[in-house]
Structures are given as structure tokens and as C-alpha cells.
Symmetry: C2
DNA sequence: CCTTAGCACTCGGCGCTATCGACTGCTAAT
DNA sequence: ATTAGCAGTCGATAGCGCCGAGTGCTAAGG
């Protein structure tokens, strides 16, 4: 289908579309036929360009804000651009080194995920976001129980990523330290190496069995483990540089901006989007309305999954105005994903 | 000093200042002599009011944006208002019940601190903020070490609030499980019941001693405990309703707004302010420039410490434009602080 | 048939002007 | 001390004309 459209538009028109979009991304103003004729590098008069523009408009790749203004790209225009016209700009040596440095060393108290998020926002001057691995991926390494008081037990789940999930649980009966210890050993042995999802399923099943066999200790322990898992059920993300978005004219209207920032704190919509693009492989680009969320109407989102040992463990990306320097941002997202994967592996 | 100024301004003028501020807070527009004469309820002509206004302006309590506009309150004007003129509006029964409800039950997955923050922002339509207890106050209850791998040990610090601070630490040598266990028991016995600050000091001292006595195990354990404490060195806050601030005209300029939101994510300035007001007792009000931070120039901050068992454990508050309904917000902050204290006690 | 010059037309942006309305400050009378 | 009256200030709004950028269309030329 896209093929059909692409065919219906000749080489020259595509070239003009490309130049137009590049120019618009730079200046942010509608591009007129005169400017375009000059920029395109072909010896064509503005009048001819006007005819081409008319065709492009007919096909829906460009539009004009009003009769006597130049043309600006539409969403399908951007789409065609990023899919087949764009020439990506490789990162400068300097930038790559900077990136490696920031993700490599134990950058102060920042986690590597936070560092990646900041890195994205710094390099792009937009908002950077990194989704942290969720329970489908996180593998349980160890389970411990620690008695806090007569009726309160702390459940500690240690994951393969060195993260620690903990939860305080009220219990109806009192446990001896040795009981807790044994339970921890048992569960670690039993569930170690499974991801949270698998573990959750097994725990539920065994809870059933334990109930029948009237093994109170084990039933209670399973219940506690279950509670600790539930807490981490939903995945989460780390964001940086939101305020960068305030500098873009296209987001200067308060209501838009407010919607956007509300979405950032509510998190669900963004999470859905990130989740979707984790399942797909490779770089994903959502331009304006394509994402399907009203709040992102005037924004584009560029994402890339990152992997450790050939397994996708999360996704990161950048959020900015539809009019963004795709040629620069795409490589940035791409490389950051690779570097983050490498950094995580080395942990 | 304040007394002197207050004396220099007679009862009637104060009344007019009060009415002016109330009116300005409602409408957001400069108040003219005609309106004020009507609102004040005294049988005085606009001309007389103008004379009074002139006096108030001379004293610096009001100012006019330009020659032919009415008057608006200055920071000293607001100060006098909140200090001695204001008539606080008690919360409606309904609102109090709502508040109790939201802070009482285990509101879903929200911590009570998050709930309080949201409550503040909902009731005031501004930004709510709750600072969580820091290491001066948090008391250590228990210390545990869990071996993760040959060279990595998880340090778990359990606090009196049921919070769990943990940190993964690289070690140079390998420990047996029994060693870790014993170390945990020893440290718990030794440092349990102390707050983080005390504990930190002792740990540092004992680290010195241990080094001399060449007790490697103990030295290493102390070092790990120290690392875990350091991580929690800085206090933190939870914020809600930041986006509410986008609706206020006085914050509609992007650069202001950006500064403000940057301050929210950077956190230090806000933390300083909150920290200051935790040391003071009772409700604190910072009007505009009074806070001492440029970013809060057009904002006011109202804070109240909250306590558990007669000991102040944290502080909460509201951030909004200088022109806010102080008469409503002050009681809201006050009551929320009390309710949060109560809610924490019941945990 | 594609390209191009020419031309009429559109429309946003800018600056200028006039008007209106809400105030003030001052003065003089009560 | 209070007040009416009055001149004056200033922001906000609307109207007007002009400029410039850019378009679409038409007709002529390669």
C-alpha cells in the first residue's frame, strides 16, 4: 500500500519533499516555492516547483496553513520522509565518547537507567525516557524473609539485575527466625532463576496445594511472596528533560502542555506506547496522531528496545515535537539503546 | 519592627487593605477606588478611598501597575495581611471527611505520603508537596546482610517507619552466610534505636577502631553499613498536581514556568526551603521573593510540619501563585499536616 | 508535454491612529 | 477630614492601509 503511494510519486517529487521537510525542520516556517527551488539544487523555476507542490498537496504529503503561505509537511509526509527519504546523520565521535562515558562509570548516585534517560534528553534537547524491565523479564535470584516485629515480616526479592524489591507484610501468626530463614532458602531454591511472571503462576498454583496439605508455614510464605510480586506488577519508566519541551513553539499553548505533562505523571498512556514498541523490534517512530493518543497529537516519539544477551529487556526513547531533527535523533536513540544494553550486561 | 509599621497604619486603612487583598485574590485584577469603596461596606466616597490608598502605597503595602490602574498588593502587603488581617475559612465538614478518608484507608497502592500530597493539590488546585522524614529522624530498627554472589552483598536497613533502605555493595573478599548473619545481628544490637545521623557518626568512629584492631570482618561490615546510610543521606519529597500551576495566568510565561518545573525536578532548592520550615514550628508562609529563590519569585509556599508522637518527622505544604486564597489554603495545610501525623501514627 | 514567465489575488503581520473606559491625582468647596 | 469635580494617564481594542511572501492560473516557449 505504501508501495503504491510511493510509486505514484516520482523521484523528483520525492526529492523536493525531502528538501522541503529538511528545510521546515530547520526553520519551522512554511517553505515557499522560491526558497525550495533554490534549496533543491536543481535548475527549476519556482513555477515548476509550485506545480510539484500542488501534486504533493493533492497526495496529502504537504499542506499549507493558509492560501498565501508556503507548505508544511503533514503526518503522512513525515512518514514517507522517515521511511524512505531520510539520510541519517551519524553521531560525532565526540558525542559517542560522551555517551559511553556517561553510561559506563558509576556516574555518582545515578542508576544507569537514569543516566541513559538524561543522556537522551541532553543530546536531543527533548524529553528522554527509559522503560525499566518489567516482570516478564526480571529473573528472581533470591528470596529472603526478615522479621520486623511479632506480626510484620519484610519480604525481600533480589532480582538478576541487582535490584531489590521489598514489601512489608502483616501476618496473623508469629514466626521464628529459623522458620523464616528456612522458608527463604526453600523458595529461593524453588523459584530462583524464574522470571516474575512464571514465578507468580507457580506460586498461585502451589498456594492451592499448600492449603490442602494444611502446611501453614508454607502457605503463609507463599502468600507473602505473592504479595511482594504483585507490588512490582506494573512496569515503570524514568524520564528526564521534560522541561526541554517547554521551549518549542508548537507546544507553547498551556492546555496542550498541561495535557502532555499530565500524561507524563499519569504514566499509563506513555507506558502503553512504550510497551507496544518493546514488542516490535528495532526502532519505532510514532509521528503525531499515529501514536493514537490525543495528548501526543503534536508530538513524535522515537523508541528503540535495548537488549542484554540478545534478549530484549526494555525500551527507551525520546519525545519531542513532530517537527524534530529525525536525522539526528534516530541515530541517538539507536546508539543509546545499544550502549545501555552493553552497560547493563557489564553489571 | 513589624509592630511599628502596624502602628503607623490606622485601623481603617488596615480594613481597606484587607478588603483590597481579598478582592484582588478573587478577581486577579487591580482594584480601583470605586470598587473598593463599594466593597468595604463603609460609607465613604471613592475620593476618600483614594487618599487612603495613597497612604498605603506610600508605606509599600500596595502598588499600581501603571498610572491609571487600580492597586494590587505588594509582598509586604500580603505579609501584613496573612500576619494580622486575615480571617481564616474553616474547612467544610465534607472536605474534612474526604481528607480523612483519603489518608485513612490503604488507598490502593498509594503510600500515605503520596495520598497526602495528592490531597493537598486536589483541595487547593495548586501543587502539593510532602517531605518524607530524613535521616535525622528515621530510627534504625534492624540491619541485615544478604549474600548475592561471591563479591556482592545486599545491605538491608529497616527503619522505624517500616521503610526499607537497601544497597548492593561490592566486596573484595567472600563472606560465609553465617558471618553475614552474625554481623547483622551484631550491628542491629549495636545500632538499633539510633537515628541515621547518630548511627553514621558512630559507624565512622568504630571504623577507625576496627581498622586498628585488624578485624577485617567487622571493618568490612561497618563499611557496608556506612555505604547504605550514605545513600539515604539526602531527604526527598513527593509532589503532586504540578500541572495545576499551568492554569494560573501569572505563571503563563514559558521561561518562568520552565524555571519552576526545573526546580521541581532538581529538588535541592525546594528541599532547602522545606528543611528550613521543618525546623521552625507551626505554619510557615513564604510570599514571593521572601523564600529567597528566584524561581519562586511569583509563588508563595505554605508549609506545616507534621508530627508523630509529639515529634516532628516531616513537613508538607502547597506551592502556588502569590495571589492565592490564603484564607482557604492555610487551614487546608494545617489540617492535612495533623491528619498525616495521625495516619502515620496508626501505622 | 513539460517548463516557465507573467499576473491577479490572498492573507498574515506590522505600524499607525482613534476611541473607549477605568483609573488617578489634584484642587477647591463643604 | 471628606467629597465633588475635573483634567490627565494609560492599557486595551478596533479599524485602516500597506507590505511582502506566496499561490494558482493562463498563456507562451522549448
Amino acid at each position: 500500500m505504501t508501495q503504491a503511494i510511493e510509486n505514484s510519486i516520482n523521484e523528483r517529487a520525492q526529492h523536493f519533499l525531502k528538501v522541503l521537510i529538511e528545510r521546515y525542520i530547520r526553520d519551522g516556517q512554511p517553505v515557499g516555492s522560491r526558497t525550495l527551488a533554490r534549496d533543491a539544487g536543481m535548475e527549476l523555476s519556482p513555477a515548476t516547483v509550485r506545480n510539484i507542490m500542488s501534486d504533493l498537496e493533492e497526495l496529502g504529503f504537504v499542506a499549507s496553513p493558509h492560501t498565501s503561505a508556503g507548505r508544511i509537511p503533514t503526518v503522512p509526509g513525515y512518514r514517507l520522509f522517515v521511511d524512505s527519504l531520510i539520510s541519517l546523520k551519524p553521531l560525532a565521535e565526540l558525542e559517542i565518547n560522551l555517551a559511553k562515558e556517561q553510561l559506563g562509570g558509576e556516574g555518582g548516585s545515578l542508576t544507569v537507567v537514569e543516566a541513559a534517560s538524561k543522556l537522551l534528553s541532553n543530546l536531543t534537547h527533548m524529553a528522554g525516557v527509559v522503560m525499566v524491565p518489567n516482570r516478564d523479564i526480571v529473573v528472581v535470584k533470591q528470596i529472603e524473609f526478615v522479621a520486623l516485629s511479632e506480626t510484620r515480616v519484610l519480604t525481600v526479592l533480589v532480582t538478576s539485575k541487582g535490584e531489590v524489591l521489598n514489601r512489608v507484610i502483616e501476618t496473623s501468626r508469629r514466626f521464628r527466625a529459623s522458620e523464616l530463614e528456612e522458608a527463604g532458602r526453600y523458595l529461593t531454591h524453588h523459584f530462583g532463576g524464574q522470571n516474575l511472571e512464571e514465578m507468580r503462576r507457580r506460586v498461585v498454583r502451589e498456594m492451592e496445594e499448600a492449603r490442602h496439605s494444611m502446611n501453614t508455614l508454607m502457605a503463609k510464605m507463599l502468600e507473602m511472596a505473592d504479595a511482594a510480586i504483585r507490588r512490582e506488577e506494573r512496569s515503570d519508566y524514568v524520564m528526564a528533560g521534560q522541561t526541554n519541551l517547554m521551549d518549542f513553539d508548537e507546544l507553547a499553548q498551556m492546555d496542550r502542555l498541561r495535557q502532555l505533562f499530565t500524561a507524563f505523571t499519569e504514566k499509563q498512556e506513555i507506558l502503553h506506547l512504550l510497551d507496544r514498541s518493546m514488542r516490535a523490534d528495532g526502532i519505532q517512530i510514532f509521528i503525531g496522531e499515529e501514536s493514537g493518543y490525543d495528548t501526543l497529537e503534536t508530538c513524535s516519539v522515537i523508541t528503540a528496545p535495548y537488549q542484554v544477551n540478545d534478549q530484549v529487556v526494555g525500551v527507551l526513547g525520546v519525545i519531542g515535537p513532530t517537527r524534530m531533527a529525525y536525522d539526528r535523533v534516530i541515530p541517538i536513540v539507536d546508539i543509546t539503546a545499544k550502549l545501555l544494553g552493553a552497560a547493563l550486561k557489564s553489571l
